[in-house]
Subunit: 267 residues, 2 copies
Amino acid sequence: MFREITGFSNPLVKRVKALRDKKARRLEGLFLAEGLRILTEALEAGRTPEMLWFAPESARHPLVEALVKATETGGGEVFVTSPDILSKLSGKDNPGAVLGVYPEQWTPLSALDRGTAAIWIVAERLRDPGNLGTILRTGDAVGAGGLILIDDCTDPFSVEAVRASMGALFTQSISKATWPEFIHWLRQGPGQLVGTSLNTDHDYQAPDYAPPVFLVVGNESQGLPEAYEADCDLLVKMPMMGKADSLNAAVATSVMAYEVLNQLRKR
Amino acid sequence: MFREITGFSNPLVKRVKALRDKKARRLEGLFLAEGLRILTEALEAGRTPEMLWFAPESARHPLVEALVKATETGGGEVFVTSPDILSKLSGKDNPGAVLGVYPEQWTPLSALDRGTAAIWIVAERLRDPGNLGTILRTGDAVGAGGLILIDDCTDPFSVEAVRASMGALFTQSISKATWPEFIHWLRQGPGQLVGTSLNTDHDYQAPDYAPPVFLVVGNESQGLPEAYEADCDLLVKMPMMGKADSLNAAVATSVMAYEVLNQLRKR
């Protein structure tokens, strides 16, 4: 059964729209995802929304029908609404056909099974939600296990990060820790901690990477703190042939991740 | 000699602020760049602003002093203004210490010397200014010669693109062409045209790339049109181990560019 919601002042509209703010997300433990592609990725990863919103125009789309069915089976609520209200909820002029409200999922470090993947990504004080989402997307592509956020990172459940992840938010585990907590956990088992750094001449293609490899990416403007670099097993650097001395954080992480993947698939 | 400008309604403030819009940029042939790091990169690439704006607080910073001197030597104007006006000009709450107004530079295809670099990047209908700027930044890092924009791309001189390029906008040549113009020019000399595509199983590490290599990146959601793919000498694909079938456009371009660079530096 669908509920039809057509009023802008409906409290539910306000409540869902509020999830674009971090405070409301933390309070409710919920976040927004938009668009058929991302919601279908979520479904394929076994995640159904608590609320599914769509406009009547999209009702007969087979992917929307599949989402509606799965949401109902999963105990979620389905709302039919106007394109205008969808716009308001998503904050975009051209909203996607669907919008879903999902429970945030944080995986405690203690619940991570490092043996399930050869690559893990560790992000330290990453500021840009587009970078964070893009790193999740690359993580999915290289078969990484998940993303571990260190200290004060941008929120992975923000609308911008979810959008940039293109659904990888639903396939990658997301954890959160302080650096000492992370290092303590890491050293209880196998794991090669690899940082990219400007403070080294060690070429990123020189080492034989030993999985599970934990790739650390630091803050966009400051990089990793020196004390954290000292905790790494390896510091490496990509060749820089131009005037600049650094790459975009998501690019650097992705180039590193493909190097590790390329080594592993040749063995 | 500095001019001091303190009034928000000063016509010059309005004119410079208007450069955040594409229409005004095309009309004036000028664009904005912000921040000491980017303006200093520009200076090192031999580019001085037509106008340099800074707040009195920054006057004694040696990099600002160098910029002031170079601007005056280059025949540009220097303006001292308040942090509030700098904010207004840059559209950011925390503006950089300096803001420069530069002439747009487009390099005609006919003026490109393909022999000067082993890698060139070709972007087709790229939509996202952050992606475009990030691709310029990677281009600088891999020693690319420049970026060729095909059909209707996002503006490389937008504030967002300039910011994401981190100054690479000043070190990379920027050209613009239709696809037929580009192909006509390309085939007049050596050049391997390489597209990344989902319509191939050819692994991106399999070919021996032959410089000058022209790496084509297509529109973020649609990729390259089939007819353009047919014009490529090679279509290749990065391995995708996860649920998703694609990477962020700037990431895919960067992973490709580093593969080509890695091959070349091993020869």
